[in-house]
Subunit: 343 residues, 2 copies
């Protein structure tokens, strides 16, 4: 849990390189107009999205600025799926769940005849999810129950170290977005505390969020299953039960932020309609606020989807963003690179 996060290490290296380069350039000759000094977001193209982030961070972190915010109140919240890493054509957690269902199938012969398990075992992922949220819940709860929270995180860690994305031919955790790593790093370097507030299972995300995003378990807020406290002799554990306790999406996201943070964030990043309430909560507090939505409009380098998609639908967000003063991030135009180059 305490190793330096891979991705942060990578973005820090780049970030330092950019900073050093600008010092060297400054020492050698007057900078050409338009050449950035220290560019905190080197994977972003110049444009309104990049500018908005930089202006916001400078305004709230410059002492004496009329928009100055004390460090303890500099809280930024991030959705995970589709905002920090790829969620399309299927949430990564569901791919873990499908693999677990296959591994558990011999103990559950009835699954061969019973949906959504039958389709899942036949490799028909779309078919398995035809039953909507109820089917998803059935699969997730069957795959993620009957063990301690600590044993479960170990399972996720082993899986995520091995599984590969078929299109990009790389481990899932390297399908996180380099430009967003830079935002996380830039915010933390500017005194912010960064949280994940996402619909994924809290225990699933905690297994990699520290290493991949530099976000420790206590700042990962997600969907929760019921837990049972169990004491046997001198040993006490928390067991994951096959029941949903809290779905961290939509109106529940601000509620979860109150429970786990207890301060209204001043910056929020999302990508789907499930993030709209979190952005509304964040950006209606007093003072300068930042709300941003990643718009998946890049079929070539990643995927293009919004209003009509079952995964990561962005429709209400597109209707509301102007009124609320949020900024769309165009993956196609605003991001110089999407994924970090593999080491």
């Amino acid at each position: 849990m305490n190793a330096t996060p891979i991705a942060t290490r990578m973005s820090r290296r780049r970030w330092l390189a950019a900073a050093l380069l600008s010092v060297v350039l400054a020492a050698c000759a007057p900078l050409p107009p338009g050449a950035a000094g220290t560019d905190p977001l080197p994977s972003w193209n110049a444009g309104p999205a990049k500018q908005r982030i930089i202006d916001f961070v400078r305004a709230v972190s410059t002492e004496g600025s009329k928009d100055y915010v004390a460090p303890a109140e500099r809280v930024a919240v991030f959705d995970n799926d589709g905002t920090l890493w790829t969620e399309y054509p299927m949430y990564t957690q569901m791919l873990f769940v499908f693999d677990r269902i296959k591994a558990l199938a011999p103990q559950h012969p009835q699954w061969q005849q019973q949906e959504p398990f039958k389709s899942a075992l036949a490799g028909d992922l779309r078919g398995a999810l035809a039953g909507g949220e109820q089917a998803i819940a059935q699969l997730v709860l069957a795959a993620q129950s009957g063990m301690s929270t600590e044993a479960f995180e170990g399972q996720v860690r082993r899986w995520i170290g091995q599984a590969q994305d078929p299109r990009f031919k790389r481990p899932y955790e390297t399908l996180s977005y380099q430009p967003m790593h830079e935002v996380l790093w830039y915010l933390r370097a500017s005194g912010f505390t960064t949280y994940i507030v996402s619909g994924g299972s809290q225990a699933f995300m905690r297994a990699f969020a520290d290493r991949v995003y530099g976000i420790p378990p206590e700042r990962v807020i997600g969907t929760r299953q019921q837990l049972e406290f169990q004491v046997r002799g001198r040993n006490a554990e928390l067991l994951l039960l096959p029941k949903v306790d809290f779905v961290n999406d939509g109106d529940n996201k601000p509620v979860a932020i109150d429970a786990g943070v207890g301060r209204r964030p001043i910056a929020a990043f999302g990508n789907s309609d499930g993030d709209v309430p979190m952005l509304q909560y964040t950006t209606s507090g007093p003072g300068l606020r930042l709300g941003m939505l990643v718009h998946h409009d890049d079929a070539q380098r990643e995927y293009a989807y919004d209003r009509a998609s079952a995964i990561g639908r962005l429709s209400q967000g597109l209707d509301l963003y102007k009124t609320w003063g949020w900024t769309l991030i165009s993956m196609k135009n605003d991001w110089k690179t999407v994924f970090d180059p593999l080491p």
Copy 2:
């Protein structure tokens, strides 16, 4: 929220004074045998409780020690009522609730004839609580609903700045225990993160925990009411509803620690049977662990109660503490002072 905590400031001053004194003594003459070097817990009498805390902190924070624990995993959890401040003869939060009920009574004429409100309005606190947990919940929910979480915290802050304890003739927040302030300060100075995990309302405790204990809102875990996310025009708020969402006591304390911390603590301090599961969870992890129970045995300086008390009953804890390797803190024998002198 960001001012230096009063109590921490006081304990820090003492702590620095003790440290400086030891340096001066060391410079002047050889220390007499038994004279402490830097005493991190000056309000504690020498004895097994004090020694256990110091030995534990040194073992887990000394690099190269076989019991060394990385700073990120140095998590310590504290119950609040009866562990960090006085809870007897009535939880401070209930005194706030009674005052709110009185203030709200003109809008609720039916309360004059209806228990538990009738007794509460007549000043008969014991009578008001005769209905047990259900009566407590009725009063709390009536007093703490229909406003935003932020407005509620403002109310608590105003109340706690004015209300006085009738026996000790001092504000309630100064009825926190000086020896426990020193433990909080000593742990944080040794790289620990300290959390409150208490049965009090989360929103109530957050209103003063930062100032009084140096524990910021994101590290205060408590009982929660249901919240409603409400958007009006360009404004979004969380409203406190008159429904209990989560009672943070007993078996629920480890569950809440998983939700809000995501790491198993290595040290836990409590005082009642409602803290036993939290101590079991904490002290059954691998490596060195610390479990401690404050035993209220000091009727003269505070109160004496344990097995037979309705408030803060300690019975199962007295049966189990030896088997589980926990240490009792005798308020009478282990604490040199109980409350910090008023400024």
